[in-house]
């Protein structure tokens, strides 16, 4: 049986158990399945997967939580510990299944709707039908096709024109340790009306022994003047497999900021694609990936400047220890006649071990002439001058290197506005650095100082 067939079988098995659906959903499922079957899982011969081997996913045998026989319970205490300490509108999914008891949407301000995809489909499926798949077509990758075939749960966030949501909207994806590995294909839809503003966090986290496969697809539509900050905080267990794609469609004068923070997972592949479709649209990508052991983290970003007077800026940092493998591929495309473009991109990496590897490719594809585009990629060492300065204060060399490694991540983390996220990441990075660095205590003190 082919690798693909396992997944197609799971899909048809699910189909027999799932209740009746509107025909358009069934049609899309079918299209997704057909496309997935035709494409098959990508191999390293595909340019987009040149450095990432997805066979551990393809050859896996995953069960949908909906169909699983003996699900291990996830205790409320565990769930609480995994949750970000943050005042937020909260929507929680455990292995792809909506968990109302772990969700809190009580303080939903006027003009904002946040609901699980299953409910949105039940209430007004036509509205969902307009958004679902508009940006993430089945052709984007075999994984989006697969997600389209399976999609039945996720989050639908709608912001009415002019609505400004101060409280962050947190969409949590919890992954549990289960005897049979589970899979989930959640779909997140965000529709931000004109001049609306919000912050959305997609938080992937799970039990330490979890070894599941999640395949997330998010679609974000920003209308004129909308401002959206999107966090993806991926702290999955070191056995979790995680694929995601985030698609953004930007209207005139809209502003999108993405923080793509990856700390966990054994095999991680993220795609981010922004289409700047009207004048004045601006997009900012910030990314941090920190991998150790045999973790593999691949970030592919793409900005399409489809209209004149659009701006993009990107800064990704990678820290790789042990035998970890990092991949960064950042692409900027400027379409013909998209004049007056500014696009800047930078990727810096730090290798902490000789067995770690980074493959980076910052690409520019430019078909208009009135542009200011630049990219830079560096892989190198810590500043020896700075190490001396720290050692001259009595700080041991290893700690000095640890501090500077943390500082390396800091350049991206400084942009993070949400303290809860920044601290979580800093502590994790400090805590995950080789023990000899022993920095966790320092971060605690700084955090304590911050709170005063």
């Amino acid at each position: 049986m082919s690798d693909e067939q396992t997944f197609l079988d799971a899909l048809s098995a699910r189909g027999t158990r799932r209740g009746a659906e509107p025909t358009w959903i069934a049609a899309r499922r079918q299209a997704g399945a057909a496309r997935f079957e035709a494409l098959g899982f990508p191999t390293r011969r595909d340019e987009a997967f040149k450095y990432t081997d997805v066979r551990t996913i393809a050859r896996g045998d995953f069960t949908l939580a909906q169909d699983a026989q003996d699900l291990a319970p996830l205790s409320p205490a565990t769930a609480a510990a995994l949750t970000l300490p943050l005042e937020a509108l909260r929507l929680t999914f455990v292995d792809g299944i909506f968990a109302p008891e772990l969700s809190d949407l009580a303080a939903l301000p006027a003009g904002v709707s946040v609901e699980p995809l299953s409910e949105a489909l039940a209430d007004n499926h036509e509205a969902v039908g307009g958004a679902l798949g508009r940006l993430a077509g089945v052709d984007f990758s075999p994984f989006t096709a697969l997600n389209t075939a399976f999609a039945e749960e996720g989050a639908v966030i709608r912001l009415a024109p002019g609505s400004v949501v101060e409280t962050p909207i947190l969409v949590q994806f919890l992954s549990r340790a289960n005897a049979t590995p589970l899979m989930s294909h959640p779909r997140v839809l965000i529709e931000a009306g004109a001049r609306s503003q919000a912050t959305v966090i997609e938080h992937q986290v799970g039990e330490e022994e979890a070894a599941n496969f999640s395949n997330l697809v998010s679609e974000v539509m920003l209308e004129r003047g909308a401002i959206l900050t999107h966090y993806k905080l991926q702290e999955a267990s070191l056995k979790d497999l995680h694929v995601s794609s985030l698609h953004i469609d930007q209207g005139r004068d809209s502003r999108f900021t993405s923080f793509n923070l990856n700390l966990g997972g054994s095999l991680v592949r993220n795609d981010i694609v922004a289409d700047l479709n009207a004048q004045g649209a601006e997009t900012n990508y910030y990314g941090l990936f920190f991998a150790q052991g045999r973790q593999h983290v691949d970030n592919h970003t793409l900005v399409n400047h489809n209209a004149p007077h659009t701006f993009s800026n990107e800064n990704y940092k990678g820290i790789l220890g042990d035998r970890a493998h990092g991949v960064f591929n950042g692409k900027v495309v400027v379409r013909r006649d998209s004049q007056k473009i500014e696009a800047h991109q930078s990727n810096a990496n730090l290798l902490l071990s000789d067995r770690a590897e980074i493959d980076t490719k910052p690409e520019l594809e430019i078909y208009a002439d009135d542009v200011k585009c630049s990219h830079g990629a560096t892989t190198g060492q810590l500043d020896e001058e700075a190490i001396f300065a720290l050692r001259a204060r009595g700080i041991g060399e290893e700690t000095a290197r640890g501090l500077l490694t943390l500082a390396f991540a800091g350049e991206v983390m400084e942009q993070v506005v949400l303290d809860a996220v920044a601290e979580r990441v800093e502590r994790t990075v400090a805590g995950k650095l080789p023990e000899r660095f022993n920095l966790a205590g320092l971060v605690e003190v700084a955090a304590a100082l911050d709170e005063e």
């Binding site: 500043d383 020896e384 001058e385 700075a386 001396f388 300065a389 720290l390 050692r391 001259a392 204060r393 009595g394 700080i395 041991g396 060399e397 700690t399 000095a400 501090l403 500077l404 943390l406 500082a407 390396f408 991540a409 800091g410 350049e411 400084e414 920095l439 205590g441 320092l442 971060v443 605690e444 003190v445 700084a446 304590a448 100082l449 911050d450």
Partner: protein, 250 residues
Amino acid sequence: MLEVKDLHVTVEGKEILKGLSLTIQPGEVHAIMGPNGAGKSTLSAVIAGKDGYEVTSGTITFEGKDVLEMDIEERACAGLLLGFQYPVEIPGVKNIYLLKAALNAQRAARGEDEMPAPDFMKLVREKIKFMKMDSSFLQRAVNEGFSGGEKKRNEILQMLLLQPKLAMLDEIDSGLDIDAMKVVADGVNSLRDANRAILMVTHYQRLLDHIVPDVVHVLVDGRIVKTGGKELALELESRGYEWVLEESAA
């Protein structure tokens, strides 16, 4: 306390220090003066252990231990602390990290436990107030975007916290206006006690109006050519360095 004997140092093949000797006792404040290029900054850099300086002969001992055999951080933990002429900017490393990490390291070297966080915070707050600095400095990256004066205050702040046995101040007065100079001088003066020594390297007499030295050395062409009391500094200020050279040549 510190004994430098017949020190010869080359940088990139060029001999900078040519047989320098110097002895500092606890409680003393020494000033090394001299024209540009005499080797003033080389001396403090070699004592601190900076790369790129080759000691071809001579010895440096601190409290009986061979300094040249010690790692950079060992020297700092032993109580030899260098205040930089040009403090390095370290983007992303918060001042508070630097202070706490350094203090922990030095305490650990002395066999002491880490200072509990509340005590540490209290201590830092006290010192930062003394240096007339804003507490927001603690969350900013080390020296990044600091003015010249702020950087120098930051150097002294570290000294106050770490309490070295021998504080070496390399041109600590450069780039300071008069108000900042007073704050820095107050900081340094507060360090003076019977068990601590201070070694200042400076180009100008004006610093010595604020931090009055016990001993003044004149460093010319890699050697100390004259040693005297604080009045020597005044004489250098009014007469320049030429006469010292002539006198030592005679």
